[in-house]
Amino acid sequence: MATATITAERETYLNQEFGIKSWLLTTDHKRIALLYLLSITFFFFIGGFFALLIRLELLTPAGDLVQADTYNKLFTMHGQVMVFFFLIPSIPAVLGNFLVPLMVGARDLAFPRINLLSWYLYIIAGIMMLHCMLTGGVDTGWTFYTPFSTAFSNTKVIEAGLAIFVSGFSSILTGLNFVVTIHRMRAPGMTWSRLPLFIWSHYATSIIQLLGTPVIAVTLVLVVLERAFHLGIFDPTRGGDPLLFQHLFWFYSHPAVYIMILPAMGVVSEIVPCFSRKRIFGYQFVAMSSIAIAVFGFLVWAHHMFVAGMSIYAALIFSMLSYLVAVPSAIKVFNWTATMYKGSIIFSTPMLYAFGFIGLFTMGGLTGLFLAALGIDVHVTDTYFVIAHFHYIMVGGAVMGYLGGMHFWWPKISGRMYPESWGRLAALIVFIGFNLTFFPQFILGYLGMPRRYWQYPPEFQVLNVLSTAGSTILAVGYLLPMVYFLWSMRYGKVAEANPWGASGLEWTTPSPPPTFNFDHTPVVDWEAYDYEHIPVPEEARVGG
């Protein structure tokens, strides 16, 4: 095996330097991506641990495992850790960091040192959050609603608020780096209409990160100041307005959902053409729908506040605008489906996750329309229906996309193949576990079980037991990839430069790539997703 020997000796970003300093002071976007991978995985399991405790408490109607106060802290910290320390950085900071320069044909992101700074900010924020959790935690719900958070809660609101403030800067810097890189660092011939859709969706994500995150930053600053110095801006007893807080909070936190889902859509847009062996259907529409989602996403925030005492006319407008978001989302779903139509579909692990994404995202999206309707929203506000809806988007959508992407690009990242049959098994377990966990919650919510309570009436028990059972299956599904990814780093088959026969510049460089990505600056003279001209390698033909 002469080729294997050559592969082993070739200098890559992984073996060019060793030692802890070469990692902690690296400015290589690929190494920073791996630093992020380790840190968000850590927080994913912390958030998951809280989730399991929540599900265990809800196994029985009585509040027996934890007290109400502890339960409040559990769901708060589950939300804060999962949203700010896992989902928002997940695909952009790991896969985006790794792939954006490779996909546009650049040697690195535009600002490599700022990229490293963003990881350090994330770590500082993470340590603050951990300290907050270990010294008592916070119980406001991830939403920090005032005046509870500013005047009544006796938990560590200030510390949690500042941790999320700092993590916001990490997110802003990542977005800024991506926008500048996509504008200024594209290789010759890589025109806007030849960009991979992964890049388009990250471009749209970055716009939200840039324009939305500062608003939650200033809102959290005001909450912290109000709590520390009694400003009164959000305190109704002193003429302040809690609704103003909700407006400012959701102005970021609704678009934040698109920070989570848009990158996952980008991943699916890469996987579907590759394993259908066809050019993506309606490239321009898929690209522009990402931008449309980012723009519309800024105009719908108040649909979180229909029952908060807002003007009915404002509610009507926000309801209508929320329906509008369904249009670009549906364009994507239909175009992925049309891409598969008459394609030669390969049921590989990434494709299974993409299937899962499309189905679950569609469910999450359609139930989102129920919630955008003023009348139905009143019935299901603050029930498990809402919980199920946004978990279908954030977990069924974003996490499926993240896992699909991790499998798809794992050969590129690590230079090794993961075990395909284990991969497909894990994808199946995740899909089954997810649906068993969250589908019963739609019914529970519709029947009227409110969110954020540690007890519930006995008639809800059967559905809650199903949900808890599902969550343990889901946990197995999430642990499996971690085990076999680690295993594959040593024992996995050595990966070719392009094991899937995929289009895109990242597959033209060896796996794992050299430190400067390409030996020569690539020149692009082909269109994106040119699958008619790429043969399917033996590696990609799985299952038959």
Binding site: R184, A217, V218, I233, L248
Partner: protein, 231 residues
């Protein structure tokens, strides 16, 4: 140059490895700075939004509280900041023309003006502390509604004005402090002769930041000091 065989291979020592040429590097830095300023606009935007709503709701108290601010100091500070923006522009121009000494002088002037602004701001805040106009337990604002001099103002609503006053001018002053730090750094390296007609991007981008902080004040001054000042 022409007699050196490797002349074509030479590039500026300021060129980072991942850029093809200085022009690409300059454009990337400039776009990055503009995007950062866009995030700053959104950051201050949250507070301007809160200001707008409460000014609309509690106009009489806002007018009364605004009149208690020292308009002379506010005007002086506005003039100081506008002058400092001018000196920043002159410093960038000096770098473009390769005049090191002028660069150093203008950057030093900018620093002095920036510190002068912060000094005046400190005087203003001190007088607020002494006058019990700082939100909190000891807050006390004795005043009447400008249009109805016999009616006392609602203390709670006046407190909201001062909450916003301190949040907005405080956040602005924090940006000024950061700016002073950046310009001290620039002054040192300008003195060392780092910025040349070929490479002065840090100067340009820091200048953009300084102008942005200046513009924020241009909006803060009328919004906070000039509500209902007509006689």
């Amino acid at each position: 140059m022409a007699d050196s065989p490797i002349a074509v291979e030479q590039h500026s020592p300021a060129l980072q490895h991942h850029f093809a040429d200085m022009e690409q590097q300059r454009q990337a830095s400039s776009l990055g700075m503009w995007l950062f300023l866009a995030t700053e606009v959104m950051f201050f935007g949250g507070m301007f939004c809160a200001y707008l709503i409460y000014r609309y709701w509690y106009f009489p108290e806002f007018a009364a509280a605004s009149k208690s601010l020292d308009i002379t100091l506010g005007t002086v500070n506005t003039a100081v900041l506008i002058c400092s923006s001018l000196t920043v522009v002159m410093a960038v121009r000096a770098a473009q023309l390769g005049k090191r000494q002028a660069q150093v002088i203008y950057l030093a002037l900018t620093l002095i003006l920036g510190l002068a602004f912060l000094g005046v701001k400190a005087i203003e805040w001190t007088s607020k502390f002494k006058g019990h106009h700082v939100p909190g337990a000891s807050f006390n604002f004795e005043g009447t509604i400008p249009s109805h001099p016999d009616q006392p103002v609602d203390q709670r609503h006046a407190q909201i004005f001062f909450s916003l006053y301190f949040a907005m001018t405080g956040m602005h002053a924090l940006h000024m402090v950061i700016g002073v730090g950046i310009f001290s750094y620039l002054l040192y390296y300008a003195w060392k002769g780092r910025y040349t007609p070929d490479y002065h991007t840090p100067l340009e981008n820091s200048g953009l930041y300084w102008h942005f902080v200046d513009i924020i004040w241009i909006y803060l001054f009328p919004l906070l000091y000039l509500i209902d000042r007509k006689k």
